[in-house]
C-alpha cells in the first residue's frame, strides 16, 4: 500500500500527512516534489495543506501549474484516488480537477478550530469507513475555505450526490452557525463526477491519534488506505 504525498514549496502539512499515514496506518509514503514528472505508481495520491507558493496570487493558483500536476491529472484520469486537503482542495479546484472555488472566509480571518461535518456519502475510496449521517469532528485551519460554486454547479453536485461532507452542529444538523466559513450549501468536501478525486477543507491528518484529540480523521484516511490495499 503506497501513497504519494505531493509537496510544493510552501506546503506545510506534507509531513503531517506522511506521519498520519505511515505511523497511524502503516502505509508506505513517498513525498513527491512538485517538479517531479512521475508519481511512481502509488495506490493513492494526497495533496496536503499549507501555503503552496506562499498562497501568492491566489491560494493554489501557482501550484496548479507545477509540473507534477500534469501527472496527478493523468493519474486521476486513470481512475487513481486523489485526496486534496485544505490547500490541496484549493489546488484541485484551481487545476480544474474539481469544480468551484474556495473564497475568503467571511470573517476575513484565519480560522483554526474543530468543526463538525456530516458524512453525506459513505463510499470508497474516501468514506467507506463511515456511515451516512456520521458526525465527524476535525480541525480546520484556513483563510480561504468558503466553498463557492454557481447555482448550476451546485445543482449538479447535489443531484449527483457529490457532496461528501457538510458542516453541521454536534447533533448533525446543518445551521448557519455551524457553517463556519459561509460555504455554499455548507459544503466541506466534494468529489468529481467519477468519484475518485476528493477535496476537503478540514484536516483529517490532524485527527488520527487520541493523544491529540478526536480520531475521526481515520474515517477518511483509513478509507483511502483500505481502498489502496484492495487495489494493491
Amino acid at each position: 500500500m503506497s501513497i504519494a504525498v505531493v509537496t510544493f514549496p510552501g506546503s506545510n502539512c506534507d509531513d503531517d500527512a506522511r506521519y498520519a499515514l505511515e505511523a497511524g496506518m502503516g502505509a508506505a509514503v513517498t513525498l513527491v516534489w512538485h517538479t517531479a514528472t512521475e508519481l511512481g505508481n502509488p495506490d493513492a495520491v494526497v495533496i496536503p495543506g499549507g501555503f503552496s507558493f506562499g498562497d501568492y496570487l491566489r491560494s493554489g493558483a501557482l501550484a496548479a501549474h507545477s509540473p507534477v500536476m500534469a501527472e496527478v491529472r493523468a493519474y486521476a484520469e486513470r481512475g487513481g484516488p486523489v485526496l486534496g486537503i485544505c490547500n490541496g482542495f484549493q489546488i484541485l479546484t484551481e487545476s480544474g480537477l474539481l469544480p468551484g472555488q474556495l473564497a475568503r472566509n467571511p470573517s476575513l480571518k484565519f480560522q483554526c478550530h474543530y468543526v463538525n461535518v456530516r458524512v453525506e456519502r459513505a463510499v470508497a475510496p474516501f468514506t467507506s469507513r463511515a456511515a451516512v449521517g456520521d458526525v465527524l469532528s476535525m480541525p480546520i485551519a484556513h483563510n480561504e475555505g468558503s466553498y463557492y460554486a454557481d447555482a448550476a454547479t451546485l445543482e449538479v453536485l447535489e443531484g449527483e450526490g457529490r457532496v461528501m461532507l457538510r458542516y453541521c452542529d454536534a447533533a448533525g444538523t446543518a445551521s448557519e452557525a455551524a457553517n463556519v466559513n459561509g460555504s455554499r450549501n455548507a459544503i466541506a468536501g466534494i468529489v468529481n463526477s467519477r468519484g475518485n478525486v476528493m477535496g476537503m477543507m478540514p484536516h483529517p491528518e490532524r485527527a488520527v491519534e487520541s493523544l491529540l484529540g478526536p480520531v475521526d480523521g481515520l474515517a477518511l484516511l483509513g478509507s483511502l488506505v483500505d481502498a489502496g490495499r484492495r487495489a494493491a
Binding site: 514549496p9 510552501g10 506545510n12 502539512c13 509531513d15 503531517d16 506521519y19 498520519a20 505511523a23 499549507g50 501555503f51 507558493f53 506562499g54 498562497d55 501568492y56 480571518k109 484565519f110 480560522q111 483554526c112 478550530h113 480541525p139 485551519a141 483563510n143 484536516h203 491528518e205 490532524r206 491519534e209 493523544l211 491529540l212 484529540g213
Partner: protein, 758 residues
C-alpha cells in the same frame, strides 16, 4: 574569493572629524572617542555607522550586560547557554530543545502587522540557526486598555501579523499571555518565543570556523528596509516615530519556509561549519558575531551581496535589516555541494567572504577596502554600570494602607468583572486565528492548561512551555515581581506535570539612563536570578529591550517594567499530564500549598478599586519548589490530571477557569485549617493573590495518596469540595460568598476579545 584588495587602508573621509556627528550614528561623544582609541584612528562614515549599530543597546547590551552576568546560566541540562542564537537544553533520548524569546516592540508600535510578523520570522531564524526544527511559537503581548482605539488597532494588527507569518510557515502558535495597561498604549510589547527540536549531534554554532572558510549569503535580497532598526529600537518612541516606518521590515514567510528547509537540509548533509541569522544590524552583526566567536577576521566582499535596489551604499548594505537572510559557513571542501543544495530551494546563494586570521572585519567593495573594523572592539562595546534609585511615587504606592477600602457587596459581579478583564479573559478570539495544530504535536491546545504541551514524535516525551510576567507586581516591587514571574512560569510548567529545564528572559524596560528605571532593571535581574537558582532553571539566553517609553512634550512615560519569562520543561511520559478543566463529577477539589491571599498588587484591586498599589504577595521559594514538586509527582503518577495555579484573580478566578474549561461546576467551602488561616475579608479570600498555591481535582480514591505526598513534602493540603452541577458556588463556613452558572461565567470570559477583535 580571488579578488585581492587593492589597498590595505580604507579611504578615510576627506573632511574633518566625524565626532560632531557622533549622535547621528547612535554613539555618544565618549563612545566615539572610545572607537577612535580602539581603532587607533578616526573611523570613516561606514565604520562609524557599523560601530553605532553594534554598540546600540539592542545589539550591544551596554546597559544590561553587567547585570546579565548575575544570572545563573549553567546546569547539567544546559547544552548551549547564552551567547549563541538560542539556548539549548537536553530533554533526553538524544534530543535537545532550542528556545529563545525576542521583542519586536518598537516596530509593532509603528506598523503592528509587519512588526509582529517579522518578530515571528526573526525568532524562528534564531532557532533553525541552531540546527533545530522550529516546533512552536508563544507570544507575550502588552497593549493599552481596550477601550482605547489605538490599543484595539495595535491588538488586531499584531494578532494578524503573528497569524500571517506563523500560519504560513507552518509552525504552530501554541500559547501566550496578554495584559493591558494604559502604560503600554503608545509603546506596546510584542515578545515572541520559539522552540525547536534537534538531535544532540546536529547542534550548530554561529561561527565562521577556521581560516580559509567561505561565507555564503543565503536568502532574500538586501534592500533599504529596516535600515537603522537596531538604533531605532534603542531610542525612545515619539510622535515622530511614525516617520521611521522604513525602519520596519516586511516579512515573507514563504521565503523563510524555503530558507528553513534548505538550512536544515544543509546541516543534515553535514555541509555547514557555522550558521547565523541576519537580525538586528543585519550583515554587520551576523558576520561580526560569527567572526568574534571564532576569534577570527573576515574579508567581506560587499559588492557581492544581492541587492533589491540600486545605489545602496556599503553602509546601507551592512545595516539593512531585510528579512529572511542567513549567513552560512561551508565546511572546507563542501562549498560546491552546499551551493547546489541551497540553490535547489530557489534561494539566492552568494559567496561573500572568507575567514582570515587578522581579527579584522574588512569591508571590500570591488577590490577596494572601504572599511576595516577590529572584530573584538565591535563586539565588546563599553558597558555602563549606573546607580539606580527607586521612584518615591512607587514606594508610596507599595506602602499604601489598603485596609480602608470598601468591601463590595456583590461578589458575583466582581468575579464576572475579573473574568472579563483582558489579562484573565478568554483569548479564544486570538488563538483561533493562529494555526495551533500544524505539525500534529499539540497535545495541550491553547486555553486548556497552564502551559502548552507538545509531544516529541517517536518518543514518549512531552515538551512544556509558557510565558509569564505580572508587570504590576514588577512595577510595585521589581525584585519580588520578577521572582514571581519565574515562580509562576515554573508553577505553570509543574501544573501540566512537567519538570522545568530552563529560562529565556525578555527584559522590557524604559530608559536605563533614568535612575528609577535602572533601579527596576537591576532589581528585576536580581529577582530573576534568585528564583532561577531556587527552582533550578538556568537562563540560557534572552533579549533586552530598553527605551520602552513614550516622549510627550517634556515628560517621559515609561512602561511598567516587564521582564517576561519564557520557560520550557519536559514530561517523561506525555500520556500522563494535567489540564485545567474539571473532568468528572464527584472529583474532590483540593487546595495545595501555602495559600496566603493578599490584596496588594492584585487584579482585583486594579479592576475593581482602580488602584495599582500595595505589595505583591510574599514569595517563599522553598515552599514554591515544594508544591511544584508535589503537583508534578502526582501528575506523573497518574493520580492527578486536573491542576491549575492560583495566580491573577485569586482562588475564585482559578476555580472559575477550571469550571469553564470543563463545562462543570463545583461546590466549594473555604474554612481555616491548622495550616491555612483565612483572611477576614471575603474579597481578600476570593480574589486576593498568592504564590506557591495550586488548585487540583482528583478522584476520591486518590485522596489518601494526595495527603501522603503533601505530608511527605511538607505541603499544606485542604479539601474544598466536589466537582459537579452547572454552577460554581463558594461559601465560607459562615455564609455563601458567590454562586454563578458556568454559562454566565463563560459569557463574561469570552466577551472581551470577541468584541475587541470584532
Amino acid at each position: 574569493m580571488s579578488v585581492m584588495p587593492r589597498q590595505e587602508r580604507p579611504a578615510v573621509d576627506e573632511r574633518a572629524s566625524l565626532r560632531p556627528m557622533a549622535n547621528s550614528f547612535g554613539l555618544s561623544f565618549e563612545e566615539f572617542d572610545d572607537v577612535v582609541s580602539r581603532m587607533g584612528r578616526e573611523p570613516n562614515t561606514l565604520e562609524a555607522g557599523v560601530f553605532g549599530a553594534l554598540w546600540s543597546e539592542h545589539c550591544g547590551y551596554k546597559n544590561s550586560r553587567p547585570l546579565l552576568r548575575r544570572l545563573p546560566t549553567t546546569g547539567p541540562q544546559v547544552l548551549q547557554g547564552p551567547g549563541e542564537n538560542a539556548g539549548v537544553v537536553d530533554i533526553g533520548q538524544g534530543y535537545g530543545l532550542a528556545f529563545k524569546m525576542e521583542s519586536h516592540n518598537h516596530p509593532s508600535a509603528v506598523e503592528p502587522v509587519q512588526g509582529a510578523a517579522t518578530g515571528v520570522g526573526g525568532i524562528l531564524r534564531d532557532i533553525f540557526a541552531m540546527g533545530a526544527r522550529p516546533i512552536a511559537v508563544l507570544d507575550s503581548l502588552r497593549f493599552g486598555e481596550l477601550d482605547n482605539e489605538r490599543s484595539r488597532h495595535l491588538l488586531a494588527g499584531v494578532v494578524s501579523g503573528i497569524a500571517l507569518y506563523g500560519n504560513a510557515i507552518g509552525v504552530p502558535t501554541v500559547g501566550g499571555e496578554l495584559e493591558t495597561n494604559a502604560c503600554y498604549q503608545e509603546n506596546p510589547l510584542v515578545n515572541v518565543m520559539a522552540l525547536g527540536l534537534l538531535r544532540h549531534e546536529d547542534l550548530q554554532k554561529g561561527t565562521v570556523g577556521a581560516v580559509g572558510n567561505q561565507l555564503y549569503y543565503v536568502g532574500s535580497k538586501t534592500g533599504r528596509d529596516g535600515l537603522g532598526g537596531a538604533v531605532f529600537a534603542s531610542a525612545d518612541l515619539s510622535a515622530a516615530s511614525a516617520a521611521d516606518r522604513p525602519a520596519v521590515q516586511v516579512g515573507d514567510p514563504y521565503l523563510e519556509k524555503l530558507l528553513l528547509e534548505a538550512c536544515l537540509a544543509a546541516i543534515a548533509a553535514d555541509l555547514v561549519a557555522g550558521v547565523q541569522d541576519m537580525g538586528a544590524a543585519g550583515l554587520s552583526s551576523s558576520v561580526g558575531e560569527m567572526a568574534h566567536r571564532a576569534g577570527m577576521g573576515v574579508d567581506l566582499h560587499i559588492d557581492k551581496v544581492p541587492r533589491r535596489e540600486d545605489g545602496m551604499t556599503p553602509l546601507e548594505v551592512m545595516l539593512s535589516e531585510s528579512q529572511e537572510r542567513m549567513v552560512l559557513t561551508a565546511k572546507p571542501g563542501k562549498e560546491a555541494a552546499l551551493v547546489t543544495l541551497l540553490e535547489r530551494w530557489g534561494l539566492d546563494v552568494v559567496a561573500i567572504g572568507e575567514v582570515v586570521d587578522n581579527g579584522m572585519l574588512r569591508i571590500i567593495e570591488h577590490g577596494t577596502v572601504v572599511g576595516s573594523l577590529p572584530v573584538s572592539a565591535l563586539n565588546e562595546p563599553p558597558t555602563y554600570v549606573r546607580d539606580g534609585v527607586e521612584d518615591p511615587v512607587i514606594v508610596a504606592a507599595r506602602t499604601r494602607d489598603l485596609g480602608d477600602l470598601p468591601e463590595p457587596g456583590d461578589l458575583n459581579g466582581v468575579l464576572l468583572t475579573l473574568l472579563g478583564a483582558p489579562g484573565i479573559a478568554s483569548k479564544a478570539a486570538i488563538y483561533r486565528q493562529f494555526d495551533h495544530q500544524v505539525m500534529t504535536n499539540s497535545v495541550v491546545l491553547p486555553g486548556q492548561a497552564d502551559a502548552a504541551v507538545l509531544r516529541v514524535k517517536g518518543t514518549s516525551l512531552g515538551v512544556a512551555a509558557t510565558v509569564d510576567c505580572n508587570s504590576r507586581y514588577v512595577y510595585l516591587d521589581p525584585y519580588l515581581g520578577a521572582a514571581h514571574a519565574v515562580a509562576e512560569a515554573a508553577r505553570n510548567i509543574a501544573c501540566v506535570g512537567a519538570t522545568p529545564l530552563g529560562v529565556t528572559d525578555n527584559l522590557n524596560f524604559g530608559n536605563p539612563t533614568v535612575p528609577a528605571v535602572y533601579y527596576q532593571l537591576e532589581r528585576a535581574v536580581d529577582g530573576i536570578s534568585a528564583a532561577c537558582l531556587a527552582l533550578g532553571t538556568p537562563v540560557t539566553g534572552g533579549n533586552v529591550s530598553l527605551y520602552n517609553q513614550f516622549r510627550q512634550g517634556e515628560g517621559h512615560e515609561a512602561i511598567h517594567p516587564t521582564p517576561t519569562i519564557g520557560m520550557v520543561g519536559v514530561i517523561s511520559d506525555v500520556a500522563l499530564r494535567a489540564t485545567q478543566s474539571f473532568k468528572r463529577d464527584d472529583d474532590v477539589v483540593v487546595l495545595l500549598g501555602a495559600f496566603a491571599p493578599v490584596q496588594g498588587a492584585s487584579e482585583y484591586l486594579f479592576r475593581i478599586h482602580g488602584l495599582e498599589a500595595g505589595s505583591p504577595p510574599a514569595l517563599d521559594l522553598v515552599a514554591e519548589a515544594a508544591v511544584q514538586r508535589v503537583v508534578r509527582d502526582l501528575v506523573a503518577a497518574g493520580i492527578c490530571d486536573t491542576a491549575h495555579d492560583v495566580s491573577t484573580g485569586g482562588l475564585a478566578v482559578a476555580a472559575a477557569e477550571m469550571a469553564m474549561a470543563g463545562g462543570k461546576g463545583a461546590r466549594l467551602t473555604l474554612s481555616a485549617t491548622a495550616n491555612v488561616p483565612l483572611p477576614a475579608r471575603s474579597d481578600t479570600l476570593l480574589f486576593g493573590e498568592t504564590a506557591a498555591t495550586v488548585l487540583a481535582a482528583v478522584p476520591r480514591q486518590h485522596l489518601p495518596a494526595v495527603h501522603e505526598a503533601c505530608l511527605a513534602a511538607g505541603v499544606a493540603v485542604s479539601e474544598l469540595g466536589i466537582v459537579g452541577g452547572s454552577d460554581l458556588s463558594v461559601s465560607s463556613t459562615s455564609r455563601d460568598l458567590l454562586s454563578l452558572s458556568v454559562a454566565e461565567m463563560r459569557a463574561a470570559h469570552e466577551h472581551t476579545f470577541a468584541e475587541a477583535l470584532g
